[in-house]
């Protein structure tokens, strides 16, 4: 992230990502002397984002499939890579993990350099691109395919942080707050209601949270209601329980007009005109559907007509061909099938409507078939899924047992080793003690590597010849001088 107070840096970085935008580069080159550029440029359109979009902060409209989620950050992959062992992570996440331990976080296979990374399959990339994503900026509810979200964030989103419009101010400001060129939204103004000094950027928050003067008491219901942006009017017209309102079924003929609270009660208890109202609504809905269908039918007919014209042209051509060949064959026979096939198309259907109806019916039955197929497949799939997951669960149990047994064995083995080593040490200690007591003759008897060396060089005593022979075998890897020494013995 470039420091916010370096306008040149801040505005030039995005150039590399969007090199095909001459307008932008000219803007950034002039960003030092922005007041002049403001005359030419529409600043709100080209101001670039200063903080890169945070993919981890994106919220997705639908739950993201587990296979598209990075096991490290637990969000949908962002520019993912695949390791040689076949595991996929966001590039950023795996790099971070490798800084600490150079192994795959899933199976602990060593991963050496970034050159080990492989690109992900295109199909995964496409799935990621197509995820329906929400703009991560607070206050923005823009939704689009994820591949287009960065463009929205960088160039269009009203809530993206950009440089303050005033060149001398190094603060950031949401794009929608800096529409006036040269106007610093961090400057103080006075609240319209309480007259306290507040920065422009903080006005909304001030009105929502602090300013008592921005709230007024509703004349009807005594509730405290914000007066910013005509909220009071909205309250009275749509919410206030004490304000006068008409029945919902006003359009169907109901004449009830009373305090909203009472009218609501009336509606809940069943307005006489409700049935009529609903019928009217239904009718309007039907009319809309009919209009829609008529429009679609018209377009279908148009398509059909052009098709038919094409086909007629084609078949006319084939008839010409065939009659040509038939006469060329020398026969005067007329081919009855070719002569009737063309009119058959147009005569089977008495009217275009019948034709369309038949088409609709065919499509409908087709749809029905498909629906049945889908149902069946769904059933089959869930059955097989249950079956499989049962198997997997069984396998897991089995594996768990095996792991338990293995760990038991390991513990036992380790314990054995430990005990053996202890016993050895104890024996060694005992032996050396005994040797010390017995004097120089028994010095060679002491076990351990130290004793071995010592014994090899100094034990010329008669009592330990067999002992030193044994030792010779044991110390083959020792220095040659010592071996010679021993053989001489």
């Amino acid at each position: 992230m470039p420091p916010p107070n370096t306008p040149v840096d801040g505005t030039t970085t995005p150039q590399s990502t969007q090199p095909s935008q001459p307008a932008q580069s000219s803007q950034s080159s002039q960003s030092v002397s922005r007041p002049t550029s403001s005359i030419i440029m529409d600043a709100s359109q080209v101001k670039t984002a200063l903080v890169k979009m945070d993919y981890q902060a994106i919220d997705y409209v639908n739950p993201v499939d587990e296979t598209l989620i990075c096991p490290i950050c637990r969000t949908a992959f962002h520019s993912p890579i695949t390791t040689p062992c076949g595991h996929t992570f966001c590039a950023k996440c795996i790099n971070r993990a490798l800084e600490r331990q150079r192994v795959c976080p899933i199976d602990r296979q060593p991963i050496d350099k970034t050159r080990d990374y492989r690109p992900i399959p295109l199909i995964i990339k496409e799935q990621l691109d197509r995820l329906e994503a929400r703009c991560p900026n607070q206050g923005c509810d823009y939704v689009c395919a994820r591949e287009n979200l960065e463009a929205h964030y960088e160039r269009h989103c009203e809530f993206t942080l950009v440089h303050c419009s005033k060149p001398s101010c190094d603060k950031l400001v949401a794009r929608h707050l800096c529409s006036i060129e040269g106007q610093c939204m961090h400057e103080m103004t006075n609240c319209d209601f309480c007259l306290k000094p507040v920065a422009f950027v903080d006005l909304d928050a001030h009105w929502e949270q602090e300013c008592e003067a921005a709230f007024a008491t509703c004349p009807d219901c005594d509730a405290s209601v914000s007066v910013v942006n005509n909220s009071m009017l909205k309250h009275i017209q749509q919410e206030c329980p004490e304000a006068m309102a008409k029945c919902k079924w006003d359009g169907a003929g109901c004449r009830v007009t009373d305090k909203r609270r009472i009218v609501r009660e009336h509606e809940r208890n069943g307005c006489m005109y409700e049935t009529v109202g609903r019928l009217l609504e239904q009718q309007a809905e039907d009319r809309r559907i009919i209009q829609d269908l008529t429009r679609r039918l018209a377009s279908l007919e148009a398509v059909r007509d052009t098709r038919r014209r094409e086909r007629r042209r084609d078949s006319a051509a084939t008839i010409n061909d065939r009659t040509a060949t038939a006469t060329a064959a020398g026969g005067s026979l007329t081919n009855p099938t070719t002569s009737t096939s063309t009119p058959a198309d147009s005569t089977t259907w008495e009217s275009p409507h019948n034709y369309m109806l038949a088409q609709f019916e065919r499509l409908e039955s087709h749809m029905e078939e498909l629906r049945e197929m889908v149902c069946e497949m769904d059933m089959r799939q869930s059955a097989s899924f249950l079956h499989h997951s049962k198997q997997v669960a069984d396998r897991f149990l089995e594996l768990g047992d095996k792991v338990g047994v293995l760990s038991m064995h390991t513990k036992w083995l380790l314990n054995m080793q430990y005990m053996q080593r202890n016993a050895q040490l104890r024996a060694a200690n005992a032996a050396s003690l005994a040797a010390a007591a017995a004097g120089a003759g028994g010095a060679g008897l002491s076990g351990g590597s130290d004793g071995l060396n010592h014994g090899g060089e100094s034990s010329s005593g008669a009592g330990s010849s067999s002992d030193s022979g044994l030792r010779y075998q044991g110390s083959r890897r020792g220095s040659e001088g010592r071996i010679e020494n021993l053989t001489r013995l």
């Binding site: 490290i72 950050c73 637990r74 969000t75 996440c93 971070r96 993990a97 899933i106 430990y418």
Partner: protein
């Protein structure tokens, strides 16, 4: 930048585990992204842990999940410290998964709880780690540093 990374990941985890957790694991509190409390109990009939609930405390550093969380059992009037050859009587757990070598960033709070659950389930020894008393008396180290100490001395 690393603190938000941990917070975001923990946010995701919290979202998931406040919806559903495996049986025997319950979220007690997660008011911030530094310390969470969870309760676990074993699901089978292991007589060592039957009818007991144990309280776990997770502490996250700003480098989580790259670095492991610090996980210990906490003693309360109704929450004892489970007896196990890898759990000291002050609640410190000696589990490879939680050490610097054994940890992997794909682990999470839920998977750690499940590992501890199965560690208890699979145990039949009614004993503490060797040297428990001296360790508990003398220890002033943090759990993450102790693990080394334990491994070095044991085998």
């Amino acid at each position: 930048m690393s603190a938000p990374f941990a917070a975001k990941r923990l946010g995701k985890e919290l979202q998931k585990i406040s919806n559903s957790l495996p049986p025997g694991i319950e979220l007690v509190s997660a008011d911030n992204f530094e310390e969470w409390l969870l309760d676990i109990r074993v699901l089978d009939d292991n007589p060592l842990y039957r009818n007991e609930i144990y309280r776990l405390r997770f502490r996250f550093s700003s480098t989580y999940p790259i670095e492991p969380p610090e996980v210990v059992f906490v003693k309360l009037p109704d929450r004892p410290i489970p007896i196990h050859p890898h759990i000291y009587s002050n609640g410190i757990i000696c589990l490879d998964l939680l050490g610097h070598q054994g940890w992997s960033p794909v682990q999470n709070v839920e998977s750690v709880c499940m590992s501890l659950q199965s560690m208890l389930t699979g145990n039949s020894k009614n004993e503490r780690p060797p040297g428990d008393e001296e360790f508990v008396r003398g220890n002033r180290l943090r759990p993450r540093d102790i693990e080394f100490y334990y491994h070095d001395n044991d085998v």
